[in-house]
């Protein structure tokens, strides 16, 4: 057996040698040890150490002579005590053996020599007849050894010791497992370990793979590490928005645009699919296309191009139905996903993480030991610094003592100012819009530039100055930056609603104008048709006029396409404006500040212009309102989600770049949750607001007569009824008719409201219960802490007892704790000076590498009994200080 083990790699053979050497070392040390060792059985570290090294020899010898029986009683007793820590059985054994050590030292040495010389004597021991009891005993020991092998890794010993112990245990197991008739354990264990490793590796790889699959995760992490979680929350929001828009794009592209382009009639076959003669000349000009007119207008990008035939192509694709359902589905999906995300976030936030060790965890667990590349390490340093800063801000906020009345007054005042500003700008917008409507009625021709662009100018001026004003106002309030950001967001949001309002008003006016125009066109159309018939085929009125080119056919204004165009133009111009603002406001400013700082009369970098900070509120609101435009417009311009995807994609890269290269972190980096429900709430509100006009136009405005999938119907939603009638069995239509009866719908709505009320009430009560539990937990933790404190104090006092014969005097706690160690050390010094060779004065080994310190150091310093300890007894196991009552009598001699 010994041969087997010694075969192996170079490294292995080295280990063997070392082991041998170590054994002799251990024995020598054992010899030097004074006898009192086994008198005091509760000493750990030193004893273990010696025990470990010597027990191997002893073990072999013992088994060889079948001496095990003698010990059985002792072992039972001691093992029970020593197992208190679980999985440390090996240690227990060592303790026991060590006690015997003194007696057996000589025998051991002899045996060791024998063993080294060869394993000849081993074989004869196996041939001895083994009784039943011995067998059982052996079995037990083998099990124990196996356990030791399994738990060896948990032990903070150094490699030499581990190897020695392991080898010994293995030898033992191998030898006697054979005798007991089972030897598969080791192989199986090795196999298990290997599989475990493989599994762990697989899991890690899979995790890595999953992270790699999340788009832009690394970019966002990088930004988060430099700019804090608040800025990162914007980018996470942007990424989430990108995901949602991907779905919207998939819907509109896959179910509307592609079928129409592939299966619908090609360009030029119908009037609605052809550029009119008047526009043909410059239909392909870049300026026209950039304005989304010309060819772009008469393409799948817009509502007007779609055919109103019930089915198209060989697949009999229901185009109008699909168009309608995609429009409804877009909005429905958006509602669902926003609400679901909000619920999920609320759940995540509500779960709450345990913050009782916030700083400690940050300090001790934040470094990622997997980092093996300098760039990542830089980011990690930055992120740790940022997270510390965030935590410090939180801490300072919670510590801030303030005059509550003054703060309240200031906050009310600030809100008053903000309200005044909002109300003023609201009135201004209202006034300007009404004036412009009047101007429009009077006719635009005799108006100056200002009157024409009044609304736009007022809006952009408001948008420029009000946020700054709000910023100033919010400095009055002295809120935590996270709360301040919310207020800022809310106020600018209210301001932007005015923007939305003007836009929708203008659009509605336009639609009404177009509807008027349409009436006239329709009238003209009949005249034109009549003239056409009269001119070409006067007699046969039923035959269609084939000769007329579709481009020449007069057509209505098609207000739907106009609305779609408006939205597309708005989105594009918004995007361009954003990018230009980034380039000028951030990049050029940064370049200017950076390079003109060399030749300027004041410090540009820290003085006036400085670098810009990332404007979270502005960017978030920009994103939200842009998304509102998409929701409003995508019914009339199916291409809008695609454009938005493009916009989000580019802005992800552009903004990431701009942030990293031209912005500086905020002065007070604050913590924001990665999933910000406040953004979501605003988004939900905007979604609701933008649904309203769409639903209104779909339900109550008749579609254009000559363009779009719903032409010829009085209302767009009629396509549903039509489908029901034609494509479903008649009973289904009947059922549907009954189900849509108000008598059924009203109770249903009532039921839903009641359900919502019930769920709301239960969730509230759960929340309360949760809070209560949290409070209880906190209280318990505090109580524990207090109890621990008291305990420590008590032990301190007890410790001081042996020092002075008087009963313990109540001392200030601080002094006690601080001097506990010293007193302890002094106690040792004074009481037993001759036993000084072992531990250093403060009860600790002189640190000479970790060799000496390997056994777990004393758990709690103050529970250590001071006087009666041998030199090789640095600490005391925590827990019950058993020997303490006897302490005052001094060390046992």
């Amino acid at each position: 057996m010994a041969m087997e083990v010694e075969e192996g790699s170079a490294a292995e053979s080295e280990e063997n040698d070392k082991t041998e050497e170590n054994k002799t070392d251990g024995d020598d040390e054992g010899d030097q040890k004074p006898d009192p060792v086994h008198r005091v059985p509760r000493k750990r570290p030193q004893r273990i150490r010696v025990g470990l090294e010597s027990d191997s020899d002893e073990e072999v010898g013992k088994s060889r002579k079948n001496r095990a029986n003698q010990k059985s009683k002792e072992e039972g007793g001691e093992d029970g005590e020593d197992e208190e820590k679980g999985g440390k059985k090996g240690r227990g054994k060592n303790d026991k053996k060590n006690d015997k050590k003194g007696k057996k030292e000589k025998a051991n040495k002899k045996k060791k020599d024998k063993k080294k010389s060869g394993s000849g004597s081993d074989s004869d021991s196996e041939e001895e007849p083994i009784t039943e009891e011995e067998l059982a005993k052996l079995k037990e020991e083998v099990e124990e050894k196996k356990k030791l092998i399994a738990t060896l890794r948990n032990k903070p010993w150094k490699m030499k010791k581990k190897l020695a112990v392991l080898k010994e245990a293995q030898l033992f197991v191998e030898k006697f497992e054979g005798a007991l008739g089972k030897g598969k354990g080791k192989k199986f264990y090795a196999y298990k370990v290997m599989m475990m490793k493989k599994w762990l590796k697989f899991q890690r790889d899979f995790e890595n793979f999953k992270t790699a699959c999340i788009p832009w995760e690394f970019k966002i992490k990088e930004i988060e590490s430099h700019f804090g979680s608040s800025v990162a929350s914007y980018f996470i929001f942007l990424r989430w928005m990108y995901g949602v828009n991907m779905i919207l794009f998939g819907l509109s592209f896959g179910l509307v645009m592609i079928p129409e382009a592939l299966m619908g009639k090609p360009y030029g076959t119908l009037p609605r699919k052809t550029v009119p003669r008047a526009e043909e000349a410059n239909a392909m000009n870049f300026a026209t296309l950039w304005d989304f007119s010309g060819f772009a207008q008469y393409s799948v990008l817009f509502y007007g191009y779609y055919d109103n035939k019930r089915t198209i192509g060989w697949l009999k694709f229901r185009m109008p139905l699909s168009y309608f359902l995609v429009g409804v589905g877009t909005i429905g999906y958006s509602f669902m996903v926003v609400i679901r995300t909000m619920a999920k976030n609320a759940h995540d936030d509500g779960g709450g993480d345990d913050t009782s060790f916030n700083f400690s965890w940050k300090m001790f667990t934040s470094w990622d030991y997997l980092i093996g590349n300098p760039e990542t390490a830089d980011n990690k340093f930055a992120s740790i610094t940022t997270s510390f800063k965030e935590a410090i801000v939180e801490e300072q906020e919670s510590r801030k003592e303030e005059n509550i009345h003054l703060t309240r007054f200031l906050r009310v005042l600030a809100n008053f100012f903000a309200f005044c500003t909002l109300a003023g700008s609201g009135y201004l917008i209202y006034f300007v819009v009404r004036r412009s409507q009047q101007f429009a009625l009077e006719g635009m021709d005799n108006l100056g530039w200002w009157e024409r662009n009044e609304v736009n100018m007022v809006m952009s001026l408001l948008g420029m100055f009000c946020p700054t004003l709000f910023d100033v106002i919010s400095s009055l309030e002295n809120y935590h930056p996270r709360i301040a950001l919310r207020w800022q967001l809310g106020r600018i949001f209210a301001l932007f609603l005015g923007n939305l309002y003007t836009f929708i008003i203008a659009l509605m006016d336009d639609i009404n104008l177009k509807l008027e125009e349409e009436k006239i066109v329709r009238y003209n159309m009949t005249i034109w048709e009549a003239s056409l018939y009269n001119g070409t085929i006067p007699e046969n009125a039923t035959a269609p006029p084939i000769q007329v080119d579709p481009a020449d056919v007069p057509r209505g204004p098609c207000w739907e396409t106009m609305v779609g165009q408006e939205f597309v133009r708005l989105t594009v111009s918004d995007t361009v404006t954003t990018y230009i603002t980034i380039l000028i406001g951030d990049f050029l400013r940064a370049v200017f500040v950076r390079f003109f700082n060399y030749c300027w009369c004041w410090d540009l970098e820290y003085g006036f212009p400085s670098y810009s900070e990332f404007d979270i509120s502005g960017n978030v609101l920009g994103l939200i309102f842009n998304q509102g435009m998409i929701w409003m417009g995508s019914f009339y311009a199916p291409c809008l989600p695609a454009i938005n995807i493009f916009r989000l994609h580019t802005s992800m890269y552009l903004q990431c770049w701009a942030v990293m290269c031209c912005n500086v972190p905020q002065e007070r980096v604050f913590k924001a949750s990665r999933s910000n429900n406040f953004y979501m709430a605003m988004l939900l509100f905007i979604l609701f607001l933008s649904t309203l006009p769409v639903v209104y136009t779909v339900v109550s405005i008749p579609p254009s007569f000559d363009c779009g999938p719903f032409s010829g119907k009085t209302r767009m939603y009629e396509v549903i009824g039509e489908t029901l009638e034609h494509d479903f069995p008649s009973w289904f239509a009947k059922v549907f008719g009954y189900a849509s009866n108000p008598g059924l719908i009203l109770p249903f709505i009532l039921l839903m409201v009641l359900g919502i009320y019930y769920l709301n009430a239960t969730s509230k009560s759960y929340k309360e219960a949760n809070l209560e539990l949290k409070k209880k937990l906190q209280m318990q933790a505090e109580e524990n802490k207090k109890r621990n404190k008291q305990k420590a104090q008590k032990t301190n006092e007890m410790e001081e007892n042996p020092l002075d014969p008087d009963p313990p005097q109540p001392k200030p706690k601080k002094e006690e704790t601080s001097s506990a160690n010293q007193a302890n050390g002094e106690a040792q010094k004074t009481t037993n000076p001759p036993q000084q060779q072992g531990p250093a004065p403060n009860g600790r080994y002189p640190s000479q590498g970790r060799g000496e310190n390997l056994a777990p150091p004393p758990r709690v310093a103050v529970t250590r009994p001071p006087a009666p300890r041998g030199p090789d007894m640095p600490g005391h196991a925590s827990g019950v200080p058993r020997g303490q009552p006897r302490m005052p009598m001094g060390p046992p001699r």
């Binding site: 490294a11 070392k18 667990t365 610094t385 524990n784 601080s818 310093a861």
Partner: protein, 175 residues
Amino acid sequence: MCCQDPLSPCTRLFYRYRDLAPQLVPLDYSDKPDVMLPYELISSMPELKDNPFRQRIAEVFSEDGEGNMTLDDFLDMFSVLSEMAPRDLKAYYAFKIYDFNNDDYICKSDLEKTVNKLTRHELTPEEVSLVCEKVIEEADLDNDGKLSLEDFQHMIVRAPDFLRAAAATVKGYCH
């Protein structure tokens, strides 16, 4: 036990050890040469070179306490740093790593050193001391103004990502 197989992580680690200084470490270890690699070589390993605590790690695991490592120390270090190492063991060694002055307690100066290493001295002294005070306030169970191993373990085993953070890329383990 894994050392018996030439492809085992133990052997691999030996080759890694040897690769650090092929001229110093002999291939044949049977005559137990007393070889020690200096700290500079150990800290240049990819696993350690970006770690702010690399010096401490090397010191804790080396026998001479200065970061110079024998093969045994080297194997030991990787055994503890590997993801197979149990939580308690990791916590124990983590404690030793953070205990800069080797007095078996993490006291305020140790904490300050840790923070400064983690943040590359980017925090102001007031912030650093605030952080340290908070840590002691949170984790010190017996109110002695410093963290003992027990305090440390009590705190660290509750950390959600301690195990993950402590698992190094080290592929090998051995004992």
